[in-house]
Symmetry: C2
């Protein structure tokens, strides 16, 4: 089970970077030429100049949260598609609603790599534990299973007794779905006195996999690995044999940026996951801000795969809040920091005091920075200028704030 999916996984990083940025240039040129949205937002971009991560980081973000408005303004796909909807393979609806697409490429969402890394192979019978209705998760597995040469069984998310019976009668050797449904099916099998002996591997996603659940599956003889992705971009990263960490897929470029901005964080810091698809002819997504938080792990996996690794899903980045009737965005805090470069990190904490909202900007300052340090009054003035809200400021020593990706922390109990 140590074999890699293809030789892309083990190529040297320099080779990967060369190949990926060559793809990216072609992808950007294609998007500009054929998708009205990109023709507009990438108007002044020379595709041939996007040769490294620094150049990539200067391109505008497209936020998942913006897709609703974009799609409403230019139905159905916001001008992001290079072809009419009738030239696609399938359309999907995620909550929002946000419409997602499947193009014509084999294994369109590239999940074959993740199932393979979980040990799933040709001839496995894969029991699918995602819903097939409206959203694309189950079809992602179907396409990957077809690419690998697996047989599938569409379990869906209800009918747990029938699913348990099918698992036993058909002898599924692998499961692909949410970890919670797998746990429910194992419980149900025990209640019904049904043995599910053939099930040996599981590929799970779409929610957290607590360590205790991973151990429970292992105790039942099921080897489980996670993948992380979204309905828009497909696979982003996947666990292989060696833990910890989710190895980034070969078909995407991943950046971790300060929430509310497009600026990459320092290596190892928590931030928002931004994904660029390297080859998506029908529906290019360039610097697509997922709204998810993660961070890069240092070094490489022991399994021989050379791509960078993510820690996994660490929460949601969309921390915009309403304070005394006005919106405060993570981008506001970034702007405060831009105006006071001596600030290393900042976090706005919102609390309720009596009947009013209380806003405190907690800042880590760099004592070695050039120029005089700003006073708390200076900072409070900038904060008010940018947010139109009064707040207090606390200066803190380096390392005081938790590294959890939160730029705005809302402590108000609104229930």
């Amino acid at each position: 089970m140590t074999a890699h999916y293809d030789r892309l996984e083990t190529r040297p990083q320099t080779e990967r970077q060369m190949a990926q940025f060559a793809c990216l240039m072609a992808q950007i040129a294609h998007a500009k030429a054929n998708a009205p949205y990109y023709r507009d937002v990438l108007r002044d971009v020379d595709p041939a100049a996007i040769a490294d991560r620094t150049a990539l980081a200067a391109l505008p973000l497209t936020r998942k949260s913006d897709l609703i408005a974009l799609q409403r303004a230019t139905p159905p796909l916001g001008g992001l598609a290079t072809v009419p909807p009738t030239a696609l393979r399938r359309l999907f609806q995620s909550p929002g609603p946000i419409y997602d697409v499947q193009g014509h490429a084999r294994d369109y969402w590239r999940l074959g790599r993740a199932l393979h890394a979980a040990g799933i192979r040709a001839g496995d019978l894969v029991h699918v534990g995602f819903s097939y209705h409206l959203t694309p998760a189950a079809m992602m597995i179907e396409e990957a299973a077809a690419a690998l040469g697996c047989v599938t069984f569409a379990g869906g998310t209800g009918n747990t007794e029938q699913q348990v019976q099918a698992l036993a009668d058909l002898g599924a050797t692998a499961y692909a779905g949410t970890p919670s449904l797998l746990s429910i099916l194992l419980d149900r099998a025990r209640e019904l006195g049904v043995r599910i002996a053939a099930l040996k591997r599981a590929s799970v996603a779409a929610e957290a996999l607590p360590a205790a659940l991973r151990e429970r599956f292992a105790a039942e003889g099921i080897h489980v690995r996670q993948w992380y992705g979204t309905a828009d971009v497909g696979l982003i990263a996947y666990e292989a044999e060696a833990l910890p960490g989710l190895i980034v897929d070969e078909g995407v470029l991943v950046e971790i940026v300060r929430p509310g901005t497009g600026e990459p964080v320092a290596d190892g810091e928590v931030g928002e996951v931004v994904v660029t698809l390297l080859h998506a002819p029908e529906y290019p997504l360039i610097r697509f801000a997922t709204g998810d938080l993660s961070r890069f792990l240092p070094g490489e996996s022991r399994c021989g795969r050379t791509n960078v690794r993510l820690e996994g899903w660490l929460g949601r980045a969309d921390q915009a809040v309403k304070v005394r009737g006005l919106f405060v965005h993570p981008a506001h805090i970034t702007e405060v920091m831009r105006r006071h470069p001596q600030l290393l990190r900042a976090r706005l904490v919102i609390a309720r005091r009596g009947l009013s909202d209380d806003m405190t900007l907690k800042c880590e300052v760099d004592p070695s920075a050039e120029g005089s340090l700003p006073t708390t009054d200076d900072l409070a003035e900038t904060l008010q200028l940018i947010t139109r809200l009064r707040g207090t400021v606390q200066l803190l020593p380096l390392g005081s704030l938790p590294n959890d990706g939160k730029v705005i922390e809302d402590l108000r109990n609104l229930t």
Copy 2:
């Protein structure tokens, strides 16, 4: 919209018959050579001798209702498959449970022909109104849509508000699912004040399409056509432009037999639908008794398609009932008729009299038959011998019994 799907549909019946029986011989040889079940049940059959419908009618039936026991005895597919389950494309579970398969052929269930006859074409966006979970109906549509070059949206059977929103936002031009769900979605759209203006065509199945519902769809600008099939054999027959009647698919041979037997009824009589797949390399079904009732319509469709037509689904043939604790099968009644060849038709009517079950065999007799007519006492004696139950017998003139395919009619109100 008058174009045919291929030239198979308009070939002369003699050409069709030659080609189909050549396929059938190869299929029977393949099944005997590779599927343990057929090796057994077709042991004494020479494939080359099955050259016409008379020879076909002598082959044993495989009943849908037998599949549960066959599959339980030889899991998972009862020895009917020619390949191991891992060499299939998908597996499904229908109520029973009966496990169904999808092999590797493009448009495995041959539904492309039915969608085409309903006017659905490449570039249509098809909203799928079947469940994708456990059973294969939705995947039948998916495979057909892919073959035609249509885009699909997986509506499923719940979430009607989201489905209505998707219908409106994406502008689906066609619907494929149950007629009742389409009706529900149109009602819901009206409640929500949402216009579904792009929807022009519908292909419906899996339940009856009452005339009133067809008219309602037409009044909303939706051209609707039905198809009829099962999870086991796929498409059996489909409506085209010209009504009435469902034209038999080019990939199957259909027989109509007396329920409980393998004997074809006279042309135009109601009986059980028996289907033989002409090309199913992984999972041959030869004289598969569906348990559904239908009958052939005389003549040909005005649309130019030359194959025979079915009236559609006319109920269930599996009319086994329990009378005073004992099972009575349609085959019992057939056996009574076999012993008294002067009976032309017979129908067992079960009613409740006081606290007991009352059983009456109603028989049409042929006054011109050779030999003396049996008395009601003779017939009651045979009935008791075969069913181990006492019953009364009524002799009726020719044409007294309704032509509805019912051999056993249960009038007991058990609620």
